[in-house]
């Protein structure tokens, strides 16, 4: 069955990702997202009776830990090198009200 996705959902998803879309873009992504969902939905055709749900592709892999040991961090200068704005050694960002 062809997947439908309405404009409202497209706008909601865009908003969650902090992307602003024009009306034309909404229509474009409406179609593209529907196609993607269609593609993914092929998985629903697979017979999964008797297959336990899994959250990780490597079934035998579990309990991967590291020891609690401090390792060298990046110098602040490095950590901040891609910051568009900074104030002293802080990242400076527009104040966001959630």
């Amino acid at each position: 069955m062809k997947q439908r996705i309405d404009k409202k959902t497209v706008r909601h998803v865009a908003r969650l990702s902090r992307i602003s879309l024009s009306g034309k873009e909404v229509a474009l992504y409406q179609k593209q997202l529907a196609d993607i969902l269609d593609y993914i939905n092929q998985l629903n055709k697979a017979d999964t009776t008797g297959t336990p749900p899994t959250s990780h592709p490597l079934e035998s892999l579990k309990n991967v830990f590291r020891e609690d040991r401090v390792r060298k961090s990046l110098p602040a200068e490095k950590a901040l090198q891609n910051a568009p704005e900074r104030k002293d050694d802080f990242f400076s960002v527009p104040k966001i009200i959630e």
Binding site: H12, R15, L16, S17, R18, S55, H56, P57, L58, L61, K62, N63, V64, F65, R66, E67, D68, R69, V70, R71, K72, S73, L74, P75, A76, A79, L80, K87, D88, D89, F90, F91, S92, V93, P94, K95, I96, I97, E98
Partner: protein, 479 residues
């Protein structure tokens, strides 16, 4: 008019006391220079792989067991997606469907009644960065050192019925965490934080009312004040027949009120999905049993034992067991000198006052159980008075010397020799003829003044009973 009751559920967030972060090797130390404890993993740079800190996992399991929870057979992590500047990856590694543990409880005692507060779930996640807002410029300054510090979330059922009860519950959780040594629970530094869900309903009703989520309570006092304010506010609204809005409210300490948080009209949609970079975790039953049996005696159990074994009052037992180090100090002192009553009085009185004043925890003080035991023995053998004992206590805190050495060095030995005291008292009597007259005229209080004068002359070293005795004899014979 209907009676309303307040219904509260608490979410407690606590930093686990690991050296390094949850998924990378950056330091968790508080107060480092801004953005000096980050790496590609906690900065969320592309292509990195988080690997779970084993100690964080172990501490989480320990805590969940101490909170009487069941550990899940399969534990996995999920991504909680949201965009906010304090979260560089744009998702937080948390647990959604298969949290570490669930179905626990904490016993609390409130106004003499015992009550079980059920715990819905305990899960492990990572903390976000710290934003400082610059209101004037409309900017926020971001420090990502805190990003990725292991955070344990403990979610209660809505079983709490008052601000006081909630504070007791939080205190008990804090004590348990301190006993387990899995967190320093420092609220000022943000290693223990909580949010509350609070609603009101007519007494006897089962359905929950519309709840407000309350944030920004940064101390025990704030928790009590904010919740009692919010409970009253909601009850007042309901009594006026008004509706309660479902919203997030912030506690404003300065104004002593809660106010709705400014928020965009959009429900949260976190789009959780399994964290593909972390394989699942399991822990064998035998391993769980091993950890369980190695848990220390927990505060509630210890409290009951103190009451029955040492006959201390419930109030004192509470105060003693709140901090594991204090309870250990108490029992170690008892092992040297079996005087529980006196030890309690000193520990919760003068010793607590000095610790408070010097802002040090008991385990870091130069004052040890052997010192307290010595002081008690010196009092019992009448070598020093109770008053001098306080001076000796200060001396131990200042120098770490043995009480006996301080007594010798400073010449603080009690004067109980009748002849010596007699001489001093004679002097006081001649210098205070007016008081002697007053006493003879029936003003019996005058004797207290004269005892005080003797104490002053002897710098507190005179045995008060002896002084009283001799004074009365002398005053009697003068009639």
């Amino acid at each position: 008019m209907k009676n309303f009751e307040v219904v509260i559920g608490l979410e407690v967030h606590v930093h686990l006391l690991t050296q390094s972060k949850a998924f990378c090797g950056c330091s968790t130390k508080f107060g480092l220079p801004p953005n000096s404890a980050t790496c590609p993993v906690c900065l969320g740079l592309p292509g990195v792989l988080p690997v779970l800190n084993e100690k964080a996992f172990l501490y989480a399991v320990k805590t969940a067991l101490a909170l009487n929870c069941q550990i899940q057979d399969v534990i996995k992590f999920d991504r909680k997606n949201y965009y906010y500047p304090d979260l560089p990856k744009n998702f937080q590694i948390s647990q959604y469907e298969m949290p570490l543990a669930h179905n626990g409880y904490v016993d609390i005692e409130h106004s003499g009644r015992e009550k079980k507060i059920r715990i819905n779930r305990v899960h492990l996640e990572e903390d976000a960065g710290k934003l400082m807002h610059d209101e004037k410029r409309g900017l926020s300054y971001l420090d990502l050192n805190r990003t990725g510090i292991p955070l344990l979330e403990i979610v209660s059922e809505p079983d709490l019925r008052s601000a006081e009860e909630t504070s007791t519950y939080l205190q008990n959780i804090k004590s348990i965490l301190l006993y387990l040594k899995v967190s320093d629970c420092n609220m000022e530094e943000g290693s223990l934080r909580c949010d509350a869900n609070i609603s009101v309903r007519p007494k006897g009703e089962n359905a929950l009312g519309v709840k407000a989520e309350l944030k920004n309570m940064n101390s025990f006092k704030a928790v009590r004040d904010a919740l009692s304010y919010e409970g009253r506010r909601q009850i007042d609204l309901r009594k006026k027949g008004e509706k309660i809005a479902q919203e997030t409210r912030l506690w404003d300490e300065a104004k002593a009120m809660t106010a709705p948080m400014r928020t965009k009209e959009e429900t949260h949609d976190y789009r959780y999905f399994p964290e593909p970079d972390l394989a699942p975790f399991t822990i064998e039953r035998v391993e769980i049993e091993k950890i369980k049996s190695a848990l220390p005696e927990l505060p509630q159990v210890k409290k009951k034992r103190f009451i029955s074994k040492y006959k201390v009052s419930e109030y004192d037992a509470n105060a003693l067991t709140r901090d594991r180090a204090v309870s250990d100090f108490f029992e170690e002192t008892i092992r040297i000198v079996d005087k529980p009553k006196e030890i309690v009085n000193w520990l919760l009185g003068d010793v607590a006052a000095i610790l408070n004043e010097r802002k040090i925890p008991i385990e870091k003080a130069p004052f040890k159980p052997a010192h307290l035991a010595s002081i008690l023995r010196l009092i019992q053998s009448e070598e020093i008075t109770g008053k001098i004992a306080k001076e000796v206590l200060q001396g131990v805190f200042d120098t770490g010397s043995q009480p006996e050495a301080i007594v010798d060095k400073k010449g603080l030995k009690q004067i109980k020799d009748a002849g010596e005291l007699s001489g001093i008292i004679e002097g006081v009597l001649t210098e205070n003829k007016k008081s002697v007259e007053d006493y003879k005229k029936g003003k019996k209080n005058a004797i207290t003044f004269m005892v005080g004068q003797v104490m002053k002359k002897t710098k507190g070293k005179a045995n008060p009973q002896k002084v009283n005795e001799i004074l009365r004899k002398k005053l009697g014979s003068q009639i």
